[in-house]
């Protein structure tokens, strides 16, 4: 098919398995060298992205929001979401200067159970040192996004720009 295509085609699914723990580790770095961006779907069906913080446990991605944020409404209307994770400090793996990056899509469930959210903050603090730093007044109601993955595409982990794709978690 040509040299360019050969350097960009998907890794064989069996070979891709060897990268699974490295990729999970990469997206689990709590906002240190890995940055995360959330995609939600607007009422008109068109997607929008913005930076968010994430906490990952065993392929479930958590993000804290507030009740009046527009992204909460988006997810209530359409639970299909996506996250892009980018490496902000590592070496480039291709001439355009790109560093490791992971795209995931999944189904997001919203929790406003404050006991569950409080438990989430405790778990996150024990792993990352980052507890609940949000305002403690009536203006701020914590909402938790919990996303279970159904698709992942990772670049910069295997040779050249060849993506790794996972469909099962």
């Amino acid at each position: 098919m040509g040299e360019v295509w050969d350097k960009e085609k998907q890794i064989d699914p069996n070979d891709a398995e060897q990268f699974r723990s490295e990729i999970l580790d990469f997206i689990s770095k709590y906002h240190s060298s890995t940055l995360s961006y959330l995609l939600t779907i607007r009422k008109n069906g068109q997607p929008v992205m913005r930076p968010v913080s994430t906490f990952v446990e065993d392929w479930t991605i958590y993000t804290i929001s507030q009740h009046h944020q527009i992204k909460v409404q988006h997810v209530k209307n359409n639970p299909n979401v996506g996250y892009l994770f980018t490496d902000n400090g590592g070496p480039a793996y291709m001439p355009l200067g790109y560093t490791k990056n992971v795209w995931v899509s999944g189904l997001c469930e919203i929790s406003n159970n404050q006991d569950e959210i409080s438990d989430f903050f405790k778990r996150r603090e024990s792993v990352t040192g980052q507890g609940d730093a949000h305002p403690h007044d009536d203006s701020y109601t914590r909402i938790l996004f919990k996303t279970k993955l159904n698709y992942l595409r990772a670049e910069g982990f295997a040779e050249h720009a060849r993506p790794i794709v996972y469909k099962s978690f």
């Binding site: 040299e3 295509w5 961006y37 930076p51």
Partner: protein, 189 residues
């Protein structure tokens, strides 16, 4: 709504208008930002991957692809696309310490005719020095994904409150800077 919400809400139209040139220059500056293209798969779910991109003064954005790439097929099946640009090697903004970033959503078409593709390379080469560096053999068929924007969201640009999003919904007015002005401004950055 509370202090947190106030620090994150959309800026006024007036501020948004003032920041249009800066946002355009940020997207144009391919050495200081990285681009990811979103397309939709056959099952309608979104997917993103890193790409090269070039923004024209009318806000349309071009990305070169090949006929055998999945993203080409995606755009031919579903014209909704999106780009996320993220700045590299610059100071961060806000509580979450992010680099500046721009999301653009639009509608794309795949252009296959050689004249359109060559015109794109000529414009990009004149503006950035990046010509056609793809293989010159029959294994590589150049195609152009050309996106007309419908919605843009930028963070980190309003210096007083950088977490407040700049939203642009109207792209009828092109950027009025000349190519020379653009090159000079980018060289100063």
């Amino acid at each position: 709504m509370g202090k947190t919400y106030d620090s994150e809400k959309e800026v006024s139209n007036e501020i948004s208008e003032q920041l249009k040139n800066e946002i355009f220059l940020f997207i144009r500056n391919w050495k200081k930002s990285r681009a990811w293209l979103m397309t939709r798969r056959k099952d309608s779910r979104e997917i993103m991957r890193p790409v090269g991109s070039f923004i024209n003064q009318d806000w349309s954005v071009g990305t070169i692809t090949q006929d055998l790439h999945l993203k080409t097929k995606h755009v031919q099946n579903d014209s909704i696309t999106g780009y996320l640009w993220i700045e590299v090697d610059k100071p961060r903004y806000g509580r979450l310490d992010f680099p500046r970033n721009v999301w653009m959503q639009g509608q794309a078409e795949v252009l296959e005719d050689e004249d359109s593709v060559n015109e794109f390379f000529s414009k990009r080469s004149a503006a950035t020095g990046r010509g056609d560096a793809h293989p010159q053999d029959n294994t590589y068929k150049r195609m152009l994904i050309n996106t007309q924007p419908q919605y843009l969201r930028a963070e980190g640009f309003f210096k007083d409150e950088p977490m407040r999003a700049v939203i642009i919904r109207d792209f009828t007015e092109p950027i009025l800077l000349s190519e020379e002005d653009i090159a000079n401004r980018l060289n100063q950055k």
